[in-house]
């Protein structure tokens, strides 16, 4: 009596003969029990790195932007590179939960919760960079339009930098609403599995008193769908607007109309790489191999292959456009990227983002976990270099040869970047420990149609049809 037909030869999304009860137990389990020494060890390392980042930020606030190597020629450097990198990483979560929800891609249920959490943490890290680049960070509220005694001097609504303020704050807010509303029913589940009254109270507080009434579910589904519909153009708009920071300027190398689609593809590319980095580790540590299966990893690798190739085409198109424009400054900008003093950054970008993902044309490689993990790291490095190439190489040789310089970061800049990785990892580890890392209710909703047990039953239903007569499906036929 399945709700609708799904082919029995389609790869199941939940393995291990699970029942609804098993799903609850498996996903609630990591949030219970004593703190593991392993978890404490890694969290304290992440927190130490994070506090070093806070120290570097404090140093910059105390002594000013002069502690960074940014100057008249290279006005944006590591800070904006890191900002764009983090914002890009923050795209996969909403893509998985919103766009894949609208496309009815069921495999998203295994990874959407953790990916959305990752999105939120990445946007937090991203936001730090432009805020602290302001120098006088205590005046950061000047970026918001409010009536003031300076004229009133309003913010410039024509400026892409202000569009960024609106885009990122909206994206952050909507992501949190979407994520938390999805979490509420699962907090209810965790609460009802609680053994102690302290835990019960904690998770009941987080669950807002959720009881799973039919009317609540109906509204919840409606809300999720509309938030997904709103987030879909939103997620595309955010990186489009980030790209406007560059594309609406007149700097050779920045001033190109290809920027918005190129940035959005790159964002999804790097976002999925980060999701894979984290999920491959999390599925081992938290024993979630039955929920985040090879099918999930393969699907994400396909998306990385697609978006990586799109980014690669954009790189090649840029070179062609520079040549075709016959504009000496534009042509010099691209010659300088590949043959100038930063050629190694350009070469790393090309290799990591365009060449290396091509291994994923081969199915065996898409389903190889060790390779996927290495590739996810390589891609994240490559996408960092992409932003470095766009920002620093385009700036370091401007129109005045006497201002040419070779930029390299100070320890404060490097420390701030490493610190944000620490902040990100600390938040993610806390999330894995205290929150249900997989969307319990959503996995349960697809279990009866997309689980491995369902596949066996579905084959029973259609085995008389000619197309299926030579196919056998047994539980356990799918590898982890």
């Amino acid at each position: 009596m399945s709700s609708h037909f799904e082919s029995p030869i389609r790869e199941p999304l939940i393995l291990g003969n699970k029942t609804w009860k098993d799903v609850t137990r498996d996903i609630v389990k990591p949030t219970t029990g004593k703190l593991q020494p392993k978890w404490l060890f890694w969290t304290s390392i992440a927190a130490t790195v994070a506090s070093f980042g806070v120290f570097c930020i404090a140093w910059e606030v105390a002594f000013g932007i002069g502690t960074w190597n940014v100057n008249k020629t290279v006005g944006w450097a590591w800070d904006i590179t890191n900002f764009v990198w983090w914002i890009g990483i923050g795209h996969a979560g909403t893509l998985i939960s919103a766009i894949l929800l609208l496309f009815r891609q069921k495999w998203r249920t295994g990874v959407n919760r953790a990916a959305e959490a990752m999105t939120i943490f990445a946007v937090i890290c991203a936001g730090l960079f432009p805020v602290f680049h302001m120098g006088r960070v205590w005046d950061a509220f000047f970026i918001f339009p409010y009536p003031n005694t300076r004229g009133p001097l309003w913010v410039n609504f024509n400026s892409p930098l202000l569009w960024d303020v609106f885009a990122i704050s909206t994206y952050f807010t909507v992501s949190i609403l979407f994520w938390y509303t999805g979490l509420v029913p699962d907090f209810g589940t965790v609460r009802d599995q609680s053994k102690t009254s302290g835990r019960w109270k904690f998770y009941n507080f987080l669950s807002f008193g959720w009881i799973g009434s039919a009317k609540h579910w109906e509204r919840w589904e409606s809300l999720s769908l509309i938030l997904a519909g709103l987030s879909t153009p939103l997620v595309l708009s955010v990186h489009t607007i980030v790209s406007f920071d560059f594309a609406t300027s007149v700097i050779p190398g920045w001033h190109t109309t290809i920027m918005p689609p190129y940035f959005v593809a790159g964002a999804i590319f790097s976002g999925f790489a980060m999701v894979l980095t984290l999920m491959i580790v999390a599925r081992y540590v938290m024993n979630l191999q039955d929920y985040i299966t090879l099918a999930h990893i393969e699907s994400m690798n396909k998306i990385m292959l697609l978006t990586g190739t799109m980014v690669g085409i954009a790189y090649l198109t840029e070179i062609f456009t520079a040549w075709y424009s016959s504009d000496p400054y534009e042509m010099y900008s691209f010659a300088n990227k590949s043959q100038g003093p930063y050629w190694w950054a350009y070469a790393s970008m090309m290799f990591c983002n365009l060449v290396s993902p091509q291994v994923f044309w081969i199915r065996k490689f898409r389903r190889n976990i060790a390779l996927t993990f290495c590739m996810s790291i390589v891609i994240n490095i490559g996408m960092w270099f992409e932003r470095f190439v766009i920002i620093v190489i385009s700036l370091h040789r401007d129109y005045l040869p006497s201002s040419f310089l070779y930029y390299s970061p100070t320890w404060v800049e490097v420390g701030t970047f490493i610190g944000t990785i620490g902040i990100f990892m600390t938040l993610f580890l806390l999330f894995c420990r205290f929150f249900p890392a997989i969307a319990i209710a959503e996995v349960k909703a697809i279990l009866k149609v997309s689980g491995d047990k369902a596949r066996v039953r579905q084959l029973e239903e259609v085995k008389d049809e000619k197309a299926y007569e030579n196919i056998t499906v047994t539980s356990g036929a799918w590898d982890h």
Binding site: V184, G212, L225
Partner: protein, 175 residues
């Protein structure tokens, strides 16, 4: 407390069985007070005869409000309050405001809908919920019947029907 009510609870272990049971029980003329499920069961709201939610309509109006606020604020600021002449360009250049207006539409719509959702469902941090059966957030489904002003004949008839429709457990609970 005065709001303690007595319920007849029927527990089910399958969503398809639950859907058929709901349609048969309502067809027999019994009123179901509420149904609790561990995940959204499609079609359940229809079988229960619930009104379709109008949350998305509210979302449209919240979004329209956001758009209006953004456009009118920018219009007022750039045209009247602090017009800046940049190379003779118009004070109110609509195209440049598309990103901010779009973001504002989404922001108002999302916040408005989410707040409405929690308000309508009466969910808030720190609420002490009336949990009829803890297993309904785990793996079972329940149908509840309010027993106020109901006699023993009604209870036994509904119990009978629930069991016939595949309930694995039927019991009464005061909460």
């Amino acid at each position: 407390m005065s709001d303690i009510k007595k319920y007849l609870v029927g527990m089910f272990d399958d969503d398809d069985v639950l859907l058929h049971a709901v349609s048969h029980i309502r067809g027999a003329g019994y009123e179901i007070t509420d149904a609790f499920t561990p995940f959204p069961v499609h079609g359940l709201e229809h079988e229960l005869g619930l009104q379709p939610t109008r949350l998305h309509t509210a979302g449209f109006f919240f979004g329209a409000t956001g758009l209006t606020v953004a456009l009118s604020m920018i219009f007022f600021i750039n045209k009247f309050n602090y017009p800046t002449d940049v190379g003779g360009k118009p004070f109110f250049g609509l195209l440049a405001y598309v990103p901010i207006c779009f973001e504002h539409t989404v922001l108002y719509s999302a916040i408005g809908m989410t707040v409405s959702f929690y308000y309508l469902c009466n969910l808030y941090p720190g609420k002490t919920p009336k949990i009829i059966d803890e297993r309904t957030t785990d793996h079972l489904f329940s149908l509840t019947f309010d027993l106020e002003n109901r006699d023993a004949a009604y209870i036994s008839a509904v119990t009978e029907l629930l069991k016939k429709e595949g309930a694995i457990e039927v019991y009464q609970k005061e909460i």
